[in-house]
Point group: C2
Chain length 349, copies 2
Amino acid sequence: MSFVEKVRLLDYWKIQDAALQTEFPRSRLVLMVDKRLLVTKDTPEVKLVEHSYDHLKQLLGEYGLQFDLSTSCLLDALPGDNDMIPLFGTSVEAADPPEDSPISKKDVLRQLGNSLGGRFTDIRMAMLTMQEERQRNLLAKFQTLTKWSATYRRCPKCAAALKMRISKSGAECVTCQKVYYPTFSPVSITLIIDPTHENALLVRHRGSAGGVFTAVAGFAHSGESMAECARREIAEEVGIEVESIQSLDMSQPWPMPDSSLMIAHVAVAKMDQKISVCPDELETAQWFSRNQVRQALETTLSDPFLKNLPKTLDDRQTLTYIPPAGAIAHQMIRKWVDGKIDVLHSSRI
Amino acid sequence: MSFVEKVRLLDYWKIQDAALQTEFPRSRLVLMVDKRLLVTKDTPEVKLVEHSYDHLKQLLGEYGLQFDLSTSCLLDALPGDNDMIPLFGTSVEAADPPEDSPISKKDVLRQLGNSLGGRFTDIRMAMLTMQEERQRNLLAKFQTLTKWSATYRRCPKCAAALKMRISKSGAECVTCQKVYYPTFSPVSITLIIDPTHENALLVRHRGSAGGVFTAVAGFAHSGESMAECARREIAEEVGIEVESIQSLDMSQPWPMPDSSLMIAHVAVAKMDQKISVCPDELETAQWFSRNQVRQALETTLSDPFLKNLPKTLDDRQTLTYIPPAGAIAHQMIRKWVDGKIDVLHSSRI
């Protein structure tokens, strides 16, 4: 089946509930239990674990867990034996064991993970550490549709019930017929460099893991172009103006805390200004040389799960890591460290 | 006041209802009546008409019309005499004249426009013909916030009332405290060219004005990067695959029919495929030479309000116009006609 045929089949399944319902028992599924994702274990790469419908029904049933169309969303179309079959994500909740149970819920989930040929992990950590873009984007879709379909139950305009599509790609008000779609917003993420291109301004977010520095990011407001969004976010967060902004032609869907599409830029700062961080969002913002950032990149690559995070308050403020390889910030910073960003000389502002 | 100070002031006004309410009587305002925008008349450029709060109160009052905080949204901060003052957009509805009235509502609005030093125009036409990006983006924000704040009255999760911020930049559920923000989604808009870069594939949308051809565009789905969105939209709409996609580093907020942020790309088509248009969306898709497109560009520039649109069915299918200068599609097509798009040779897919 060609790419065009696949795209059109997905477009059909998305809106044709009856057709998709018929396909469900032939589908393959990836799984979340208690908002934790089933991924491979003991493999060099972190990947989603897929099961056939029948196999998953049986294995979950042994633990008293059930899934159905209401807990599932359409993620992709996969080649089957003769034709295409759907890939669903399904998200279920496990009941707490009885109080007098000899084993904890954590133990139950560990056993369940084993039975299913994997382990359960935090969604953010999975996004940060999965190496394949396709896997990360499927997870972003799974999380976005799961959260959106759990939130959009009533029409924001008239408060009547929303009829959710089986695919979870839209919901229609049963009274006023208005259709709502999964919401996610454009975010600018911008690497700020100095006019020599040899230094980068990185920031530490409040509440982020100690020693991890990254690029400036924020949601676009209505009425802004992406460049205007980047320029405003830089002013809001680190209190400086920039002399140019340009697209890096990289983007990444990111599902948390709110769903977004991160769009990468590089900006050259005006150097006659003092950094003044927005204290609600940032702990600190500092200039680092390319060598300092390269060192942090290498530390991150050698410890991709950030197991050696600094614990003391002082160390938190020291550049030790950048975000892991699954984050677009990592890829942007790496591109700059490797000298692969060509900054145009024409100003974009 | 510096750009940084302005950005931080807007950020403060956005969430501090009491502070913004105090500023309201000092504000300047732009106006919609019956969803039509007040713009300048008899000027070479179409621009928003601004009024002071007091002046607008008085002039609208003479026509029995009223505005207040509930009909208004925060658009910008402008320099006042000593400090910054807010720019609001306010959108009011005019009552129909009594049945036995000697003058029609249309006449009333024409008179009102005159009194206000302008005329009322269709929002889409204003977006297409306003020459300044700042003006278009203010209008996009005005329309997006007006429509969003009229729609989001009840919590989609629990159906309780939403408390709308005065700025219209967010609304909080009075019961579950969840905060919602104005929704607008990323859209890829892509100029498809052939491997020689000398021909472009342009499309005519169903229901668009006759003879107007444009680029392929569509909303991003959750879990897609912008490049994946562009690739899928091209497959869905014209049934072909492309060998590369790259960002044009241009974007534009667009408020209708649904609010979006259009992000421009160029794609090089694989040439071994037949065009097959999606009949729900498109009337036709055709390859045109650079000279054919240049001719349509020149026709559009010489008739920016598209006053000589073809009327017959055959003429509708002939490339006569591209979208007017306010549309990002116009700017992308013009850049290509002028030979100013550098297509990289590295594939992005």
